[in-house]
Structures are given as C-alpha cells and as structure tokens.
C-alpha cells in the first residue's frame, strides 16, 4: 500500500489513501485479439526492416548508450533541463504534509496537462477541509507519487463520488490575434485504444 497523501489546510492535516483512477477500473476495458483461420488466438510479433529477425516478446531490450555504443548506467545519469542545467531528483510527496493553497479559479484546472487522476480515499479528514471542498472549492498543492526530476501540480477537489487529485503540469495556451498565421503541422498520435465513458 502506498504512503498516504497528507494535505494541510489552515494548519490542520488530513490524510487520504491515493487510488489511481483509470478507465479500466471505472468502465472496464476492451482488448482487441487477432485470430487465425481456425479461430485460435494469434501471437503478435515484429519483423525487422531487413527481414533478418522475428522479434517475439522478450527478444528486445532498451537502454542508454554513448555515441560510441557503450552502455550508460542509470546511476551515472542526471537530470538536465531545457537550458542545460543539472536538475536534482525531487522526492515523493507521499507521507509528507503538503500545504494546500487556494481556493483557485476553476479555469486553472483547464490549464493542467493531466498525467494522472487519483481518488483520495479518506483516512482522516479535517472538518474544515471537507466543508470547503464539498462546497465546491478547489485547492492546489505539490504532488509527486514517486521521486522524479520535477514536482507536479495537483488540484484537489470533491464531487458526489468523493475526493480527487488531478495531477499534472501546467500548460499555456496562447492568445490568437487576427493576423496570426496558422501553420499546419503533423499532430502526434492522440492515442488509439478503447472508448467512452460507459459505452460510447
């Protein structure tokens, strides 16, 4: 079991057990299976471009290498930001009290590139925090489920289902003036698996 999420509101702590919210755990899942001519399940594999190797599960591995082809151990690597500065590893925030700030404007939540959603199963919740969240207020705090090179942002809110933390990185949209020129680019894949909230 993960360490609890500890949130501090007006100097009072509340504790929650984080449970990741995923589509499969809310609506179920859909898996696409290939069948051969006799109706039996096929195995997916990959063929290298030169046709020399049929790659089945377990045939490949991945890692970091120098330009000369020598492997680089993960322990020899450090985080480097876009400006080339070394970034220290940031510890997990679980089990450590995190001060809530806010309430924030709900529009801020729309500017979060959500990476993960957690259902916060209440262990011990301060009455004041419960009241303000249930009244519709949204709060912000630092959040790292595990150690990483940056600290993510969580928006904590409540609805009829319970308490939730939306975790990710803030992003900016730009103002578009009349004279702006649209340049079509190749958009990245927007994902390709199953669907809908229930059965859409």
């Amino acid at each position: 079991m993960a360490k609890p999420v500890i949130l501090t509101y007006l100097s009072r702590s509340s504790s929650f057990q984080p449970i990741k919210v995923e589509r499969a755990k809310v609506y179920g899942a859909k898996k696409r299976i290939a069948l051969d001519a006799s109706g039996k399940e096929c195995t997916k594999a990959a063929l290298t471009a030169d046709g020399q190797h049929l790659l089945k599960s377990g045939c490949t591995a991945q890692g970091y290498f120098t330009a000369s082809g020598n492997p680089v151990s993960r322990s020899d690597m450090v985080g480097i930001d876009a400006e080339g500065y070394i970034v220290e590893s940031k510890p997990s925030t679980l089990g450590e009290p995190q001060a809530l700030t806010g309430p924030v404007d709900p529009t801020n939540v729309l500017s979060l590139a959500i990476q993960s959603v957690y259902y916060l199963d209440p262990v011990e919740v301060d009455e004041g925090l419960a009241k303000t969240l249930q009244a519709g207020d949204i709060y912000q705090c630092p959040f790292n489920f595990s150690a990483g090179l940056e600290v993510e942002t969580a928006y904590v809110l409540a609805n009829a289902e319970g308490y939730f933390a939306l975790v990710g990185k803030p992003m900016d949209t730009r103002w578009i003036e009349q004279g702006a020129v649209f340049v079509s680019t190749n958009e990245e894949d927007l994902g390709e698996d199953e669907l809908d909230f229930e059965s859409m």
Binding site: K20, V21, V26, Y27, G28, K30, K31, R32, I33, A34, L35, C42, A45, A46, L47, T48, A49, H53, L54, L55, K56, G58, C59, T60, A61, G63, Y64, F65, T66, A67, M77, V78, G79, I80, P106, V109, L110, A113, V117, I138, L149, E150, Y155, A158, E161, K169, M171, T173, W175, Q178, F182, N186, E187, D189, L190, E192, E194, L195, D196, F197
Partner: protein, 238 residues
C-alpha cells in the same frame, strides 16, 4: 494526420479551421553532463533463445542445460540496434501468417471479468468530414465540468483566414459571456464522441472560449474519463 477540424457554431454555420495540441513545457531529461547519450532498443535474444524455444528444445528445466552447455553469446547479432519494424502475426501453430488475421474485441468489466466477445469494428475519424462537429446545446459551467471530467488532452483552435477569424472570435466571445463550456460532437445532435484518427480513442469534447481585445483563445478540452470512484479489488482474508 490532418490538423484541420470542421465545426459549426450555435447558429449551425460551419467552417473548417486549424488546430494544434497544447503541451506543457518539456520535462528535464536524463543525460550524462558533457556527453551525448542515446536511448535505443536493441536485440537481446534471437528467436532461437526465447523462453519458448529453449523449453521446446531442452524441456521445462532448461537452466541446467544452459549451465552444462555454456553457450556463447552471438555477438554478431545480440546488441544490434532495432529501429524500424513491421507488425506480423503468428498463427496458433507458430507459423508466420501471410494473410491478415480476423479481430475480435474482448470486453471486461471493472473487476477484470470478461463480459462479452464481439467482432471488432473499425471506426473512422470524424473531425474533418462533410458534416461538421456540432454544438450539442449542452452548456456546462466550468466549475461543474472540472469536477465531473478529467480533461487529459487539450487542443487549441485557430483561424485559417479572415472569415474564420470572425467565426472563432464570436464563438469564444459567446462562451466567455456565459462562463460555460459547450459540449460539441458528431452526429445530428452533436453528442456523439469525437474521434481524431481512424480507430482512435473517442473523446467527449468541450469548447472553452476567452477573448482579450481583438485576440481570442478557443480550446477544446477532451475527456474519456469521469471523476468516479474506481473499482478496488477486495483483499482475500487470511
């Protein structure tokens, strides 16, 4: 992949406009200071050395055979960089298939139990078709929307000429004035999910608009997940 989207406004007037995905700033990367480091996929075992192949050759307990035989690593092949590959299928006898397999979908419930098996169907993209994405007429306050849905992707809409500038600016203004988001979608009523690419993930799409003098921000927030308590498996009692 297209970066054009065909949408209609509240009055049913339609236009084809541009879009781009909104992304957060780049995250720090793992590297070695002063040295170029490459991340690559490589061949770790040939087909003859997979678990299945070794089991077939030496039986379930093949570890001893490997110790006794002490085979050398094939340095001509192992470690080779794997770049471009093509997906292939092997039939139930392990033979490479030269015709496309048929596909079925296996549906499971939140507990992981299989509910249904059905033929797989292909879905088409519907964002830039003859019929535009329409306003559903379902407005939702921003406060309510962010507490109900997880918006995991955002795209920003942009005009492609003077006429579409007016079109988008007026949509942004209209949404800003009511402090709400508008559900848009495919189909006559604008409530069918939005699909950006063939066999892609269907999303519920909510339009949000802001203006600042002559500039506008019109974003489409995409969700495939409601904020609901997830299924949690109960632990077996001792």
């Amino acid at each position: 992949m297209t970066t054009l989207i065909h949408i209609a406004n509240a009055k049913g007037r339609n236009a084809t406009i541009g879009y781009s995905t909104v992304k957060p700033p780049a995250s720090p990367k793992l590297a070695v200071p002063g040295q170029k480091v490459l991340f690559r996929r490589y061949l770790a075992a040939t087909e003859a050395c997979t678990h299945e192949a070794l089991k077939n050759r030496y039986g379930d307990e093949y570890a001893q055979a490997l110790i006794d035989g002490d085979p050398e690593i094939d340095i001509e092949q192992i470690g080779a960089t794997i770049e471009h590959t093509q997906v292939v299928y092997q039939d139930s006898n392990g033979e490479l298939m030269f015709i496309e397999p048929s596909f079925i979908e296996v549906i499971t419930d939140p507990s992981g139990q299989e509910k249904e098996r059905r033929p797989s169907t292909d879905t088409e993209s519907n964002i830039n078709e003859e019929v535009p994405l329409r306003w559903s007429g379902r407005k939702i306050e921003i406060t309510e929307a962010v507490k109900k849905f997880a918006f995991k992707r955002t795209i920003q809409l942009q005009h492609v000429d003077g006429l579409t500038y007016d079109f988008l600016y007026s949509i942004a203004k209209e949404l800003e004035e009511c402090s709400s988001m508008m559900l848009i979608g495919a189909g006559d009523k604008g409530i069918a999910p939005v699909i950006f690419q063939a066999n892609g993930k269907p999303y519920r799409a909510f339009l949000h608009g802001q203006t600042n003098a002559t500039a506008y921000r019109l974003t489409l927030h995409l969700s495939e997940l409601e904020l609901k308590k997830p299924f949690v498996a109960k632990k077996a009692k001792d």
